[in-house]
């Protein structure tokens, strides 16, 4: 059977409205460029999260929070609260996160295109006092979520034996 190209959506669009057709084609081209270069340009994304190979590891870093000498059990909190605590900590603890990303990824790519970007806009102020301020802000938020005062917190490595986590 010969395919009937008249029924293609883009063909119909071309007949009905030329401007929307050109816009839709432009969007399609942008999406294809983004997909094949594995880049991102809002609103064109690659929906490939969790598609790379993720294996079970033997060790995992776990954020431990102690209150009144007891380890906080995260199971009593909603997934949003849990995410805010864990993700927030990752970004507060990783002090040179933005600096490395700017030097290794953004700057080389932009220099290729001949564009000079200001580093100050990208890299957070990483003086010890600023870092402390951010850590304090995270602690305040966490105390607000957990509804209790925090004694201490830190990352500890745990071993996964296929069934249980054990502290190393």
């Amino acid at each position: 059977m010969r395919p009937n190209y008249k029924n293609l959506f883009l063909v119909k669009l071309y007949r009905k409205n030329r401007i929307i057709f050109y816009l839709a084609s432009l969007m399609l081209v942008c999406q294809l460029i983004v997909s094949f270069t594995k880049g991102v340009f809002t609103p064109f994304y690659n929906y490939g999260m969790y598609s790379s190979v993720i294996k079970i590891k033997e060790e995992y870093p776990i954020l431990e929070i102690y209150s009144d000498g007891k380890l906080i059990d995260y199971t009593g909190y909603t997934i949003y609260e849990y995410d805010r605590i864990i993700n927030g900590y990752e970004h507060v603890a990783n002090t040179n996160f933005n600096g490395d990303f700017f030097d290794n990824r953004i700057n080389p790519l932009m220099s290729l295109l001949g564009i000079q970007l200001t580093g100050d806009r990208f890299v957070m102020n990483n003086t010890p006092s600023e870092q402390n301020k951010r850590m304090k802000a995270w602690k305040n938020m966490t105390e607000h979520i957990l509804k209790t005062k925090i004694d201490s917190f830190g990352i500890k490595n745990y071993k996964w034996n296929g069934k249980l986590f054990t502290r190393m």
Binding site: L13, V40, F41, Y47, A137, W160
Partner: protein
């Protein structure tokens, strides 16, 4: 001005697809209702921007975001409750404002939708430079204003179909990525992801799956 009351489209099987003004109104109302139900859910879970005034921001791979960061707006909202509240106020009033101008058949609604397109983009960037969520999950706020910018019923219907194709592409490409990147063929994949996402829950509380 509006001469087209009904837009008819006969497909190859001879079935008549009619899209009327009532459908358009219903569709917009549905979007508005969904938007506010989500807004209430987000508010209850403390996910509005002002409830999470950013104390740090992160960089991720998005070329357009890097150009946006050059403006420095994201540095203004750091630890700033009132500016965050202002952004929230505008973001959450635009849809209802649009709906009323649309009902009054005002031409202003088109400009409002265009403003919504730009503002939503800025809001989503600000919302995601702080580690709350990822931009990919916010595409509805980026694409729907494109649809709302059309008052003519035929153009509105065409954009609805384009958005439908984008929605289908979302799932199709996710499937392709799983095959290309090899996640589909890995037997430990699901367990690996679950462990990565819930390691703290398993380590501190629940003893098993």
């Amino acid at each position: 001005m509006e001469r087209e009351i009904i837009y008819k489209n006969v497909n190859k099987k001879g079935i008549l697809n009619a899209f009327s003004e009532t459908d358009q109104k219903r569709y917009i109302l549905f979007f508005i209702l969904l938007f506010y139900i989500l807004a209430i859910c987000k508010f209850a879970n403390e996910m509005w921007l002002f409830q999470n005034p950013p104390f740090a921001f992160r960089l991720y791979f998005d070329v357009s975001l890097w150009f946006f960061l050059q403006t420095g707006i994201h540095q203004i909202i750091l630890d700033n409750h009132s500016v965050c509240l202002l952004f929230d106020a505008v973001f959450y009033t635009l849809p209802v404002l649009y709906y009323f101008t649309f009902l009054r058949k005002s031409k202003f609604s088109i400009w409002l939708a265009a403003f919504m397109l730009v503002f939503n983009c800025v809001y989503v960037w600000l919302y995601t430079v702080y580690p709350i969520t990822s931009t990919e999950s916010q595409i509805a706020w980026l694409f729907t204003p494109l649809l709302l910018m059309n008052r003519r019923i035929q153009n509105f219907h065409l954009w609805m179909q384009i958005l439908r194709y984008i929605f289908i592409f979302f799932f199709f490409s996710a499937g392709v990525w799983k095959i290309v990147q090899g996640g589909l063929w890995e037997t430990e994949e699901m367990s690996g992801i679950l462990l990565q996402q819930h390691k703290e829950l398993l380590a501190t509380g629940a003893n098993n799956w």
